[in-house]
Symmetry: C2
Subunit: 412 residues, 2 copies
């Protein structure tokens, strides 16, 4: 288990019985805490509770979330529930730039999206899209930086731990149905490129701020233009009225308030495509020569018990968590109660929502009084196993190290 | 399509663009409406918007619901979404008696349930139950009286049409795991009997008001004691902190705020078991000699388009809806656009959440200008097809007539 090197990076993560506790995933026990840290804790707690959720996310369940900033809000590790589906009012929020006005979701059917790079280019309203077909997909939506909080070189960006992720159901029209209706894509197309509806301030090069991402064409197979999440109209905070959904692809590729969907020969010229979200070594800036952050890797974490202050009795303890395969089904999930020395297979329980979703797992451990380091690791159907160590990279992307996600608990 | 015989029974069902419209499922067009009916409409609209949701359901999405009374609140036919899962804030509410104080959900882990009729009877807290195991099930929760609004003899009770139903995910401990922990059930047990935590007023025979239901032992196989719905702690309105969940069984059998779970030789002596929720002919009161309302039958209905005032263009129209198999998977779904004269197979789309859930379906119709009567009927894996006609019964239970659920739409 990695302890963040800088105490200011430790964060309030767990709420127990209404009282904020200093848990983090750093297993910092009260005994370890010096006076300075106690003061820092109090200051952080005060800051946390003072912050108000901005209007566009005022409906979020504040008790289940960690407000980093108005555009970065994390789900607490204890707040995912055990149903396989993350409630929308607990789902993380992450915007690269400020969202557009809430006006755009007032009449969602009127929203327009331009479809380009097809035989018969056309601008379609959501109402028109709804007449082309409908389906749903359950998927893990996860920010590229989820788990960034454990990188020792302290990459810039939000210090997410586990909560910049959730498993939700998106409903909309398959992109394939849109292509069918418009005569198919251009023969030279290599990418599907979505453009977000954020307002671009005047006088600056749009490429510096435009949220526009390109994904390879194989992503079209399961992609949607979605107007609904978990049965509700897609709220602004999650990209309503219409979002480009690319199941299995990391959050940034799922373009919010999508106003243009194009089938293109080249990747977008936007900075967010060319230079951001690239795999580079620590200290190296992103550029087109490096791989883009697209597909999700296998990953899992324990969601209960995770609070070092939780009162657990020696004996049988249910260890539960979530496990995702990435681009193929989660096939095996193992749990260790001694920091990865020994592993036992745990059981997937509840719903199987398909390869892009996560699955709940449960493991009945028999724990003696004392401290235990709990870890889990998933293997997907392609045979890829979640690694022990994170892959170091400049911006702290795609941390799926099982060691970083381990937790220390104490039973009495 | 049956038209309710009494105009006062027609209700406001559809909200379009924020304006209340007089839709019902009665396909009453504006042209049909006399002045008297227009006045009734205005009065009903005023009454509807004046009513306030009681505190325990203040968090419901009022725009998606029809408030019949403080204990009977229906989901609008247009508000189920197309994701397969019904958002909790749109899920119907039905209580036989007033719910207990909201205090009971403030510390859900402390709630106690007495387990009786087992080898080692014991009272367990929710916290203790959580250590015995966890799983989830997606299921249609449906009131016995859903569809009562179409019975011509006007049975007493809420005049539900389609909205006393929803498909949700319950999470909790399998009853089988509880039995395992307590040494198994008594050998003479024939029923699983749950007792609700409602307060019984002093001075009256508890059997007259107690909410206590018995289900046959085969129901134990998939039954849960659930503390979570769609990933959120179970709210009071839906039976929190703990509910007995019997997948596939009609709503009343899923005991809210369950305070006792017993394995019994006899069915409960409560009136709600002995005399209510029994299959009897019109005019005949319920009593133990008649079959109890337990298992759900196959049923489906269209959710879009259903509004006679919706502006639809001739040509391709997506017809979408929900279809449930009852006690086995929905296997086939057919759609008719001419009131049941001809049927074509529609496609199941989106998530398959298991045999107790409903599935979304979609059908691309090619409609000429004019009026069309849309109907659907489901067949389950056991080979049972949703019937054309309702089974007449005194209290208006289990209406799964496809003809009653048909809708009339107009395309221009």
């Amino acid at each position: 288990m990695t302890h963040p090197t800088n105490p200011t990076r430790r964060r309030l993560l767990v709420t127990t019985g209404g009282a904020l506790t200093w848990a983090g995933l750093t297993s910092l026990s009260h005994a370890d805490m010096g006076e300075k840290e106690e003061a820092a804790k109090a200051a952080a707690a005060a800051k946390e509770t003072d912050k108000a959720f901005p209007d566009y996310v005022a409906w979020k369940d504040a008790d289940s979330m960690i407000l980093h900033s108005s555009n970065t809000i994390e789900t607490k590790r204890t707040a995912f529930g055990q149903s396989g589906i993350t409630p929308v009012n607990r789902l993380y929020v992450r915007n690269n730039v400020n969202p557009p006005s809430n006006d755009i979701v007032e009449d969602p059917d009127a929203w327009e999206v331009e479809i380009a790079g097809v035989d018969s280019p056309k601008t379609l309203t959501v109402a028109e899209l709804k007449q082309l077909g409908t389906t749903s997909v359950a998927m893990v939506l996860q920010c590229a930086g989820n788990g960034r909080g454990w990188f020792p070189h302290e990459p810039s960006g939000t210090q997410w731990e586990t909560g910049a992720a959730g498993c939700v159901v998106f409903t909309g029209v398959p992109v394939k149905k849109v292509l069918e209706a418009l005569g198919g894509m251009d023969s030279d197309a290599k990418y599907m490129t979505g453009t977000g509806g954020e307002e671009i301030p005047e006088g600056i090069d749009p490429d510096t701020v435009r949220v526009e991402r390109s994904v390879p064409l194989e992503a079209v197979e399961d992609a949607l233009l979605a107007w609904e999440i978990n049965g509700e109209p897609l709220p602004l905070a999650h990209g309503g009225p219409l979002r480009m959904i690319v199941p299995g692809y990391i959050g940034i590729n799922n373009i919010k308030y999508v106003k243009k969907l194009a089938f293109t020969e080249e990747q977008s010229s936007a900075n967010i495509q060319q230079n951001s979200y690239r795999w580079t070594e620590v200290g190296v800036k992103g550029s087109p020569e490096y791989d883009s952050i697209w597909e999700s890797p296998p990953k899992s974490w324990i969601t209960s018990p995770v609070d070092p202050d939780e009162e657990l009795k020696a004996g049988k303890v249910q260890i539960v968590g979530v496990a995702m395969g990435g681009m193929s089904n989660a096939k095996k999930i193992e749990v260790s109660t001694n920091g990865g020395k020994d592993w036992k297979e745990a059981e997937f329980v509840g719903l199987d929502l398909g390869k892009y979703a996560w699955r709940q797992f449960a493991f009945e451990a028999d724990l003696d009084a004392g401290t235990h380091e709990l870890a889990c690791r998933v293997t997907n159907e392609d045979g890829d196993t979640q690694p022990e160590e994170r892959r170091e990279n400049n911006r702290g992307y795609l941390n799926n190290s099982w060691r970083d996600h381990a937790v220390e608990i104490t039973v009495a």
